[in-house]
Symmetry: C2
Subunit: 221 residues, 2 copies
């Protein structure tokens, strides 16, 4: 039995959900109000954050460690290349999104607009929102530059790097913060990954107080 | 030819330096004032941070991606176990230190006391320093709890997880911010790792304006 304690718009949870779905591993999703730091939740994960994956009796945290574990324990379909240099590039891009993009964009747009409201922390800080709205352009351009010479972000096959990026961008797309007309190659890439069966779980998400915009689940956005 | 662009007290650079030294790979160290964001440095790494590892003509960034690459391309001596569950635990602990410990302790003590001065950003914020000094106790206790049942942090063999932890703690030890008497198991663990030949490169570091304290390079601290 596999259970994922998650928050629907968390990009780290979404990366794990995509990996599980791509590997056709059935999972029970349990929404976790992790910011309330309930003692029972902290027992499951002393780091106090989502995702937490429960496989049988084993509890796992840290999204990248979880995804690498899922890949090693269930190698098909393959989401990491075999060559060490290609694997390096996958991990570098995962870190780019989970670290730099998260800091400059996700935390400035999604956390200001959604998390603050859900957690009762008040209104968005317009200075942060403005900063994030500026930085996302740079990141979309960087993705476009990568995709000039590659079919997928880390090379010519789909990998965890694409899931890391799509996890962040899909969360931001839920609040209409991605300008898909900025770069045609990025839009094509997102259309490809969005149409995969593994993506359906994300497209079904509904956040109370934040109605899903019409384009979000539309494959012809 | 291998060259590492680094900053001596950066825990992320130290993790890479330990990995290189343990694998007996000779490296030329080049100190980088990365916070000045010189155009030449940004060309080497668009993420604008250290470490950047140059192997022949190839430039690599993101410390965890670099260390996993070094391990895969040069498997001896082995710094990752073979079993997927054991590998998960190594990666979880690396993320614990590079993410949670970094956020709660390293950034609050080392960056306030050293980086701010070196970068000309003014004086330490005493609120941050107090917070970090409180949180490091919790982390030392957590390490002690892990070491009750394990010889090394992620299990019974030394792994990248020990280097991630030792990289952060050794940087903090340079500014005398680690209370080694808090937990005997943690002190024993640090004495073991500190006495390895690979650690000598860290113990030789000297930061202008911050004289090395006597206990820092002493194996009998």
């Amino acid at each position: 039995m596999i259970r994922l304690y998650h928050f629907p718009l968390s990009p780290f949870c979404r990366k794990v959900r995509l990996t599980l779905a791509e590997k056709r591993m059935e999972v029970e999703l349990v929404e976790e109000r992790y910011w309330e730091q309930a003692p029972e939740f902290l027992r499951r994960n002393p780091a106090g954050k989502v995702p937490v994956l429960k496989i049988d009796a084993r509890l796992m945290s840290e999204s990248q460690a979880i995804c690498e574990y899922l890949e090693e324990a269930n190698p098909a379909p393959q989401l990491m290349p075999r060559d060490p240099e290609a694997r390096y590039e996958v991990r570098r891009i995962c870190a780019w999104f989970d670290d730099k993009f998260h800091e400059e964009v996700t935390s400035k747009l999604l956390y200001e607009r959604v998390h603050k409201k859900v957690m009762g922390l008040g209104y968005p800080d317009s200075k942060n929102v403005k900063f994030g709205a500026g930085r996302i352009k740079y990141h979309l351009d960087y993705m476009g530059w990568l995709l000039e010479t590659r079919r997928w972000l880390a090379g010519d096959v789909m990998t965890l790097a694409d899931f890391a990026a799509a996890a962040h961008l899909s969360s931001l797309d839920y609040i209409s913060d991605v300008d898909w007309n900025r770069n045609a190659a990025v839009k094509d890439w997102y259309a490809k990954i969005k149409s995969r069966p593994s993506f359906r779980t994300l497209l079904a998400d509904q956040i109370p107080g934040f109605p899903q915009p019409a384009h979000y689940a539309d494959l012809d956005f």
